[in-house]
């Protein structure tokens, strides 16, 4: 094993040499001293203005999550997003809830697991559609948009990890330029054999969240 690692390391070290393996650029033609052209235009240095760019969004959320077979319980978590364009964003979430008792556990007074914690993370792409404004009375309008998200992640439940697919629909209202209010409905779908037969479960979540743009 040590020898293998040695070979790997050696190859890795040698790889650095490959960086210089490029086709050589053709040499520039020697300059003719008699034909120097003085540019008539003065060169101007371009200064990039320091603009406060706010494409990141972080925040927290809380709501209700319904676990298939295990009842509905409060859920809370953190969310971060990066807005790629007016239409697209990429989003990461972590959340936590607790599993209640399934019918079989209640009736037979058994426990399929002692560990009732349910935690998840996911990485999603989001697409803003149906942008618009929400009006509060005559004098105030807040930009809003509906969005759909889809992505993948992991769920830890009953001491086991599950590959999870997420789909969701949300509404984002900008209360101010930097404060977002989110209403979200999400489905977390994965396959499990926790209650005997292997099946796909859909765990539905609804939450309210606040995010800050920076």
């Amino acid at each position: 094993m040590a020898r293998r690692i040695c070979i790997l390391l050696l190859t890795t070290a040698l790889l650095g040499g490959c960086a210089s393996w490029r086709t050589p650029e053709p040499e520039p033609a020697p300059e003719d001293p008699g034909r120097i052209i003085e540019p008539a235009v003065q060169r101007r240095d371009i200064v990039q203005p320091k603009i406060d760019t706010e494409n990141f969004e972080v925040g927290a959320f809380g709501g209700i999550m319904s676990l298939e077979d295990f009842g509905a319980n409060p859920v809370y978590g953190l969310r971060g997003a990066y807005h790629i364009s007016e239409d697209l964003f990429i989003e990461g979430m972590v959340g936590r809830t607790e599993a209640g008792l399934s019918s079989i556990e209640e009736l037979a007074n058994v426990r399929v697991t002692q560990n009732r914690d349910y935690t998840y993370y996911n990485i999603n792409f989001g697409y803003n559609f149906l942008p618009g404004e929400i009006f509060l009375g005559r004098g105030r309008a807040m930009p809003s948009t509906l969005y759909v998200i889809g992505g993948v992640g992991g769920t830890r439940f009953a001491g086991d990890d599950f590959f999870t697919i997420n789909l969701g629909l949300g509404l984002r209202i900008l209360a101010t330029d930097w404060l977002g209010i989110h209403f979200d409905v999400r489905d977390h779908r994965f396959a499990t054999d926790l209650l005997g037969k292997r099946k796909a479960v859909n765990n539905l979540e609804g939450h309210l969240g606040f995010t800050v743009f920076f």
């Binding site: 690692i5 960086a19 706010e54 809370y76 990485i123 743009f213």
Partner: protein, 259 residues
């Protein structure tokens, strides 16, 4: 339950604190502030349009004319919140901002990532998902480039299978063959550790941590601005303590950005 209540309190406190912290600079944006707080540009086109919100569908409610100047308050994706000389605030699209002039007369330049920067970038971060011998994998990575061709990468993968779950932490050297191409192939070589947790129903349920070495090939495709797609295949060799080493094929693709 008690633990979850206290955690909920911390979250709630965080939710309340965050906006409070952020409102400090917001209060300082009152109209009485000193001039020069925001970058100022002059309008060189006949006019630019101010929208009510940061999006193409929001109505134009005002135009700022040539010869006047505007202050840039903030930017969100391709939209700039500006304030005109008569103190109206609205959102202007990037394409119109590029036609404005700096105080010294130079053209406003916005460095939003170009093909050239794609070739020369220093830092890169991304997320990927894919398949590892029939199991699903979710990965994230960060990379630092020494030059156009050679970069060092750190990665973490969560492999979610039917019979076991694994976590993998890796370090790698990556060589990009022709960095100036839009579709740019690379070769990677690295090592790391993998922690395999077999699922409870199996005969041999103890967790184990092994060293892993890998070689791989892939391609980066420049999309736009600072974004790229990345697709890769890695052949992993897990150095087990048993007689036979394990070979694992890993396919994954995803999205990355550079800066």
């Amino acid at each position: 339950m008690r633990r979850s209540t206290s955690a909920a309190r911390v979250l709630l406190a965080g939710m309340l604190l965050l906006p409070a912290l952020h409102s400090l600079p917001a209060q300082a944006q009152a109209p009485t502030e000193a001039p020069g707080r925001y970058p100022r540009v002059a309008i060189a086109e006949p006019y630019i349009e101010l929208h009510t919100g940061p999006g193409r569908g929001y109505p134009v409610f005002h135009v700022a004319e040539r010869g006047t100047s505007i202050d840039i308050i903030r930017r969100r994706t391709d939209w700039f919140k500006v304030r005109t000389e008569d103190r109206r605030e609205g959102w202007v699209h990037r394409s119109q901002m590029l036609l404005t002039l700096q105080p010294d007369g130079g053209i406003t330049e916005l460095h939003d990532g170009t093909r050239e920067e794609f070739t020369n970038h220093r830092w890169e971060m991304g997320v990927m998902a894919g398949d590892v011998d029939g199991a699903r994998v979710v990965s994230t990575y960060g990379a630092f480039a020494f030059n156009e061709s050679l970069s060092v990468e750190l990665g973490a993968s969560h492999i979610l299978g039917r019979f076991s779950n694994s976590y993998m932490l890796t370090g790698a050297l990556t060589h990009t063959f022709v960095p100036e191409w839009r579709l740019s192939p690379f070769f990677t070589l690295g090592t790391g550790v993998i922690r395999i947790e077999p699922k409870g129903s199996l005969v041999q349920p103890e967790d184990r941590t092994d060293q892993v070495g890998f070689a791989g090939v892939g391609v980066r495709a420049y999309l736009t601005r600072r974004f790229m797609l990345r697709l890769e295949y890695k052949s992993n060799l897990v150095f087990t303590s048993r007689n036979k080493n394990e070979e694992i094929d890993q396919w994954q693709g995803g999205f990355a950005f550079f800066f």
